[in-house]
C-alpha cells in the first residue's frame, strides 16, 4: 500500500513539471529573441508523459519522457516599426504559442494534480484504517 504513495508522488511531479512548462510558454508569449539576444522567437515547449517511474520504469507510475519543442510555424505580426521586423516585409515573427491551448492544458494539469492528491488522501485513509486493526 505504501508504494501507492510513491506512485501518487510520481504523478504529482509529472503534472507540476507540465505546469512549469506551460507557465514558461505563457511567460514567453511575446519573446522574439533568445537568451543571447539573437533574433530567434521562442518555440512552444511541451512535455511528453510515459508510464513507469523515472528511477525504475518497471514500477507503476508516470514520468516525464522529455520536454520537446513544437516545430510548427511561427506566427507573424505586421509591425514595420519594430526593430525585430523583417526589413522587406515588415512582419515580426512571434512564438508559436496559442494562449487558449496553453490555458486548457494548464487547467487539465491542475485537475489531474488534484485527482492525484485525492487519490493519495484516500490511500492514507486506507492505511490508517488498516493500522487500526492492530491498535
Amino acid at each position: 500500500m505504501f508504494d501507492v504513495l510513491d506512485m501518487g508522488a510520481s504523478g504529482l511531479v509529472a503534472q507540476r513539471t507540465r505546469m512549469d512548462v506551460i507557465s514558461a510558454n505563457i511567460a514567453n508569449i511575446n519573446t522574439t529573441r533568445n537568451s543571447k539576444g539573437e533574433l530567434s522567437p521562442y518555440r512552444r515547449k511541451f512535455v511528453t508523459l510515459s508510464s513507469g517511474q523515472q528511477a525504475d520504469p518497471a514500477r507503476a507510475g508516470v514520468h516525464i519522457d522529455g520536454i520537446k519543442e513544437d516545430q510548427s510555424e511561427f506566427l507573424k505580426k505586421y509591425d514595420p516599426g519594430n526593430p525585430d521586423a523583417d526589413p522587406t516585409t515588415g512582419y515580426v515573427l512571434q512564438p508559436n504559442i496559442d494562449m487558449s491551448i496553453e490555458y486548457v492544458n494548464a487547467l487539465e494539469a491542475s485537475r489531474a494534480y488534484e485527482a492525484n492528491v485525492t487519490m493519495m488522501e484516500t490511500t492514507k485513509s486506507m492505511i490508517n484504517s488498516s493500522l487500526r486493526l492492530i491498535a
Binding site: M7, A60, G61, R132
Partner: protein, 133 residues
Amino acid sequence: MFIENLLNQGSGPALSELLKFTSQRHKLLAENIVNVDTPGYKQKDLSLEKFQQLMQDRIEQRNNSAPGTVGFDDIQGKIENPTSGILFHDGNNRSMETLMSDQAKNALMHNMVIELLRKQFASMEMALKERVS
C-alpha cells in the same frame, strides 16, 4: 490447533481475502489516475463482480464440507483492460469520473472490511477474556 480453528471459522478468512482484493484494486486504480494523461496507456482494473462470484461459490462449497478443509487463499482477481468508455485520440481510454468514484467505493469497502474484522477480533478477545470489555 485450537487457535487455528478459531481464526479460520466464520467470515474471517473471507474478509481478509476481500481486504487483499481491495488493496490490489486500489493500486490499479491509483495507477490509472496517475497515468490519466499518458498517451497510449490502457486502463487496468479488477472485476469486483467476478471476484464476488468466485467468493460466493467458494463460501457455498465451504459450508458443505468439513471445517478447515476449504480455504480462500487461491482466490484472486484477474487484471483486466476494460474497453468501456471513450478511446481518446492519444490511445488512452480514461474516464476521470468513473476512476474517482470507483476509487472512493473501493476505499469505503476497504474501511468497512477492516471495521468488520475489528469487531470480530474484539468479540474473540472478549470470549478469551471471559468478560465483557
